[in-house]
């Protein structure tokens, strides 16, 4: 089952620098939640704290509670490796493994856990994941070609296939369309609509139209002031957010008056 995420009082640091302060929200299961806000407001940083990728950066740490399926991700007993298996991630720029074929790229995560797989089972996973990422028809004849040979949009869908092959509960997307052309972007947006049946999706985007198109809920992040930490200004259903936001700052941002 797709899982909801309960976030309470989260502070995120780079060393001594407080990057994001005091975030509280509940991300609904099986829905798309978008984070918008100006550059440097901490929305990507916050996204990366949802699968403990933030701490990969030396000196980076997170305070507070992020609860998925009744378990706090930052509980001392929790293994970050296990978290990342349950909370998958798609990055800003497509990053298929350059030395692996399309087929191996899809299986990369599964092979870690399962060790040896039966060929038929592996074939099935590859087909299902690539179909899930709307890529199967384009690549089914060249599964053994390198993943780097695909176009940017195809590579990004390959990365989505790779992420969903592990069958996570949550899928994080960090500006997945920012390096893509409009047609590829539209293909990814269609895909997001389909994927939300199976996964809880959290997406960071710079593009407000995109947030309006794909998301059910939207969170607006902003800096309190230059040099101050980022914080969550408003979190509401997307429809309300874009029609009648609670906070004047949100309205100013959405109507393009700053940011």
């Amino acid at each position: 089952m797709a899982k909801s995420i309960d976030i309470s009082d989260v502070n995120i640091y780079y060393g001594d620098f407080l990057a994001v302060e005091g975030v509280n929200m509940t991300i609904r299961a099986g829905a798309v939640t978008a984070f918008i806000g100006p550059s440097g407001c901490g929305k990507s940083t916050f996204l990366r704290s949802l699968n403990r990728m933030h701490e990969v950066i030396p000196g980076a740490r997170v305070e507070g509670k992020i609860v998925v399926d009744g378990q706090d991700l930052y509980d001392p007993g929790v293994d970050p490796v296990a978290v990342r298996r349950q909370v998958g991630m798609v990055f800003q720029r497509p990053n298929p493994f350059p030395t692996m074929s399309i087929y191996d790229n899809v299986l990369a995560g599964l092979k870690l856990n399962a060790g040896k797989m039966k060929k038929s089972a592996a074939d099935e996973v590859v087909e299902r994941s690539l179909r899930g990422a709307n890529l199967w028809n384009e690549v089914k004849d060249r599964l053994n070609k390198p993943g780097m040979g695909l176009s940017g949009g195809q590579q990004q869908r390959l990365c989505i296939a790779r992420a969903i092959a592990v069958e996570p509960q949550v899928l994080l997307m960090d500006e997945p369309c920012s390096a893509l052309d409009p047609i590829s972007t539209s293909a990814i947006e269609d895909l997001i609509h389909e994927l939300k049946n199976d996964f809880t999706i959290v997406i960071v985007t710079h593009n407000m139209q995109q947030a309006a198109r794909v998301s059910d809920d939207t969170g607006f992040f902003n800096l309190k002031a230059t040099g101050e930490p980022g914080h969550l200004v408003e979190f509401n259903p997307t429809k309300k957010m874009f029609a009648n936001p609670d906070d004047p700052a949100t309205e100013a941002y959405i109507s393009g008056r700053f940011g």
């Binding site: 089952m1 797709a2 998925v68 399926d69 009744g70 378990q71 991700l73 509980d75 001392p76 007993g77 929790v78 293994d79 490796v81 296990a82 978290v83 349950q86 870690l112 856990n113 060790g115 299902r128 179909r131 899930g132 969903i164 069958e167 509960q169 389909e194 049946n197 199976d198 996964f199």
Partner: protein, 351 residues
Amino acid sequence: MSTLEEVQTRVHVSLVQPRLPRQAPTIVGVIALSFGALLLVLGVGVVSATVLGALAFLLVLPAWSLAIEGRRGATDRLMTGLIWTAFAIAVVPLVSLIWRVVSKGAERVDGVFLSYSFFKTQIDQPVGVYHAIIGTLLITLGAAVISVPVGVMAAIYLIEYGKGNKLAKAITFLVDVMTGIPSIVAGLFAFALFTLIFGPAYVSGIGGSVALSLLMIPIVVRATEEMLLLVPDDLREASYALGTPKWKTIVRIVLPTALGGILTGITLAVSRVIGETAPLLLIAGATDRTNMNLFDGAMTTLPVLIYGQNLRGDAPAEAIAWGAAFILIVIVMVLNLVARIIGKIFSPKKG
């Protein structure tokens, strides 16, 4: 959609995998340490005890992890252990080398050691390595005088003029080849060249300089090339747009911008060849006297002197060898430090 049922059949997945306590490596480390100490008490040698203790650590931690965390965790811990062990093993000889040179060398070095040569005018005159220090400095200076102009100009040709043409590609390739020339071959070349011209008994410092410059040129070319590539084309174009001819653009704009990096490269190249022994054995010979003339007669350098003392092998010779090695290392380290400082001073200023 087929994944839907799949996903719904999955129920609660625990994120809390069984894990070793955070202090596990410390605990096992202490156990391994006491195991080694126990072996030591039982009369096993220091080396064996260390090896066995380390082995114990390397095996126990993954085994424990295998029992609790499973195969993947165990592999991760084993590899982490092996990687750090490789690191530790490599550090031991390197530290030992530095320690030897410093402790043995420093006690032999004093004012007398630095200011007297091997050549005795009186029977009880003390010996020192003055002649070898002079030889080292002169021969290396000679090598630098040959290599720096050739290397820097060649790099300018490669980057500013010959970009992509066949000759430039050939030169780039040969520079690569030259970086791999064994130093003794460079010595043989100088030896063959000079003895063909001046007769079989020829020895001189300049021959050594030529051999060393063969080793130094590729390093200078590489460093200069890299620095010139870093100079943005905007700068060149801005200068052309002012009506400056190309050569003035290179001399006034490009080279000054790259100067810090080039100087650093040259300094590192000098520190690289200053310790060369083999080529100088062949062509510069060895002498006990201080020879100030690069173009006439044998000239001893510090590395050659160290080698000679090693051949003699007796205790005073060994002491002199360590002393000379200490001076040599200090020179090399100072050069490296100077290179870093130059790099810092000349690095493009920000803000």
